[in-house]
Symmetry: C2
Subunit: 358 residues, 2 copies
């Protein structure tokens, strides 16, 4: 009984499961592919998560400067039950155009909400969220068009996912340092996989300014953060640019079979992982938006005791795992980032001699 | 400019302000009084926060098993602009009755939404949330009636607030140990006060099971958690009761002048402090609900730069301060709790020799 209360890692250690998925990435979820298009010159890019067979989806928007499309249809009271892709993009408002290319790419393959019985005509369902990386590349507005989305689809695969300054994380900045794209996965004791991908472009900091250490460094499984994750660094004394150009966007995905309402609940709990890893988060300058995708391959175990049958216990585990994966993906994004101009990467910051608050 | 990015404490230290309010409690906010009614035999109680002159209010419900009243009127699109009290109560559904006593207590003093021009007749506005402590006292259902609410009003004051097994925290349990009522405050660099009160009755744990230490022990200001806050303890190996009877409920309050929408935003960001301090939080078994009250005595400083005039920067500080106060109030609630039957208090847990994950 105590297992629900312990951290997921603990529960998994007890059952001696391999707790990190094969690639420690969102591509560990059966039915999920990921693709990036990166434009270094424009310091922007697009990340597409494809679920060609469809995935039940939910979303929770908690930042106060969001940029999104197709999020209203994810309300559990609305018609559409599954989506074919979710797009994370740089370029702020302009980045929403990338989704048009993903819609067309899917339509060409007859993947989408069916408009006739033989599924010859479809309406691809492609929710999207953007982050603001304007002004960090050659031009203030990166030249994002529909083709960026299509190219990310062309690149989609289910192997190991590159991290750092790639896809939607290309131009990302987190607090005073370079942000990036990160991913992580977890195989839970009952065999269900949870995973996350996130582009960290936050107003708040992943690094505790009092200690110079990663806030959520203790969330790492089996030394996954390596020596970088143990460092205490000296943060830049100046922000490299005025704030406002922020927003962390991400996706948690699972192979579990859940409803739209349950997907929304998991997206909500995933924000707890963002809250822990980025401080402050969900500010007026962030459009923090997280999606949940569920490919429906595995049935949730039943709740024991008085609530038998309603899956609540498994939902607690799933939501907690989503939060943990989100925290870990955020740390990966920061550790994988590379210095870009004035935006120093964590890995390139000098060591701090002694922490002021040990 | 970097100050926004640093933790609030750091910003405050830099300006050499006293950063914790006079009593380190929600009563540090001008215009706020707090009162408790405690029934040890029933292992339940009521906490009332009174704002006799009215306070602009917001709420964010993020747990999946909430028990509330008068939360819909806090939607920014709705009529009522201010409330006269917020009630936190034990007793699950039955505890909602305590609010009736608070409503009558206020009506007797002509405090409420005016129904005629001379304010002779009023409708007191009293949002409330309950937590589930059923089965922990002499009877399964504690005998909560309206008089419990009235007695809490009678006891209201603006001095130091007792913590632990008192008021709504009387029967609270947090994970495998005893929960309780906690409070904390912060005076920000610009002189605005933020404070929190919370009854910690969570499914998740305030203590990291891997280390036996308080998850958010580093949030303490000037050793406010004392030696207890530094301990590594051995948690009970069994939950003292089956889960389900959970829910953390609380209030953040400020003397700032803000709108209903801004109060909702601050309540939302306060949940980030709950997410950090209680892991997991916002589960299917928690009805986690946080209110924000603003007494309107101090004007928010203007945002600098391109967003001048919209107060966004100050809102970031306020929301972050609300999250920090919420985390700290939660830790206070756990450290102040006393053992009750099988529910062991943190302070009575044995020391752990060596942490397994240092």
């Amino acid at each position: 009984m105590i297992a629900w209360l312990l951290s997921i890692e603990k529960a998994c250690e007890e059952s001696e499961m391999a707790i990190v998925g094969k690639h420690n990435s969102i591509t560990d979820v059966a039915g999920i592919m990921a693709g990036n298009y990166t434009n270094k010159l424009a310091a922007s890019g697009v990340t597409v998560i494809l679920c060609k067979e469809g995935a039940v989806a939910g979303v929770d928007v908690r930042g106060s400067a969001p940029g999104t499309r197709e999020t209203d249809l994810l309300n559990p009271i609305n018609l559409v039950e599954s989506v074919q892709a979710v797009v994370l993009s740089g370029g702020s408002v302009y980045g929403l155009a990338a989704s048009d290319g993903v819609v067309r790419w899917l339509a060409d393959r007859h993947l989408g909400f069916p408009m006739d019985e033989d599924e010859n005509h479809v309406v691809p369902i492609v929710p999207a969220a953007v982050l603001c990386d304007l002004g960090r590349g050659a031009d203030f507005i990166p030249p994002i068009q529909a083709d960026w989305g299509a190219r990310a689809c062309d690149a989609a695969h289910n192997g190991p996912l590159s991290e750092g300054c790639i896809g939607a994380g290309t131009g990302a900045v987190s607090g005073a340092i370079k942000g990036g794209l990160g991913s992580a996965s977890l195989v839970m004791a009952h065999g269900i996989t949870m995973a996350a991908v996130v582009a960290v472009n936050s107003f708040g900091s992943v690094v505790n300014p009092d200690t110079g250490m990663i806030w959520e460094r203790d969330t790492g499984i089996k030394n996954e953060y390596g020596d970088q994750g143990k460092r205490s660094v000296r943060l830049p004394q100046q922000l490299p640019e005025p704030p406002i150009a922020n927003t962390t966007i991400g996706i948690v995905a699972t192979d579990a079979k859940i409803t739209k309402a349950q997907a929304k609940k998991i997206a909500q709990m995933a924000h707890d992982g963002l809250a822990r890893a980025v401080r402050p988060s969900h500010t007026m300058f962030d459009g923090d938006t997280l999606f949940c995708l569920a490919t429906g391959k595995r049935v949730l175990p039943d709740t024991q005791g008085v609530l038998a049958g309603n899956k609540a216990q498994a939902m607690n585990d799933m939501g907690h795992a989503a939060a943990e994966c989100m925290s870990r993906a955020i740390v990966h994004g920061i550790l994988a980032a590379e210095t870009h101009g004035n935006f120093m990467a964590f890995r390139d910051l000098p060591d701090r001699a002694i922490s002021s608050k040990p």
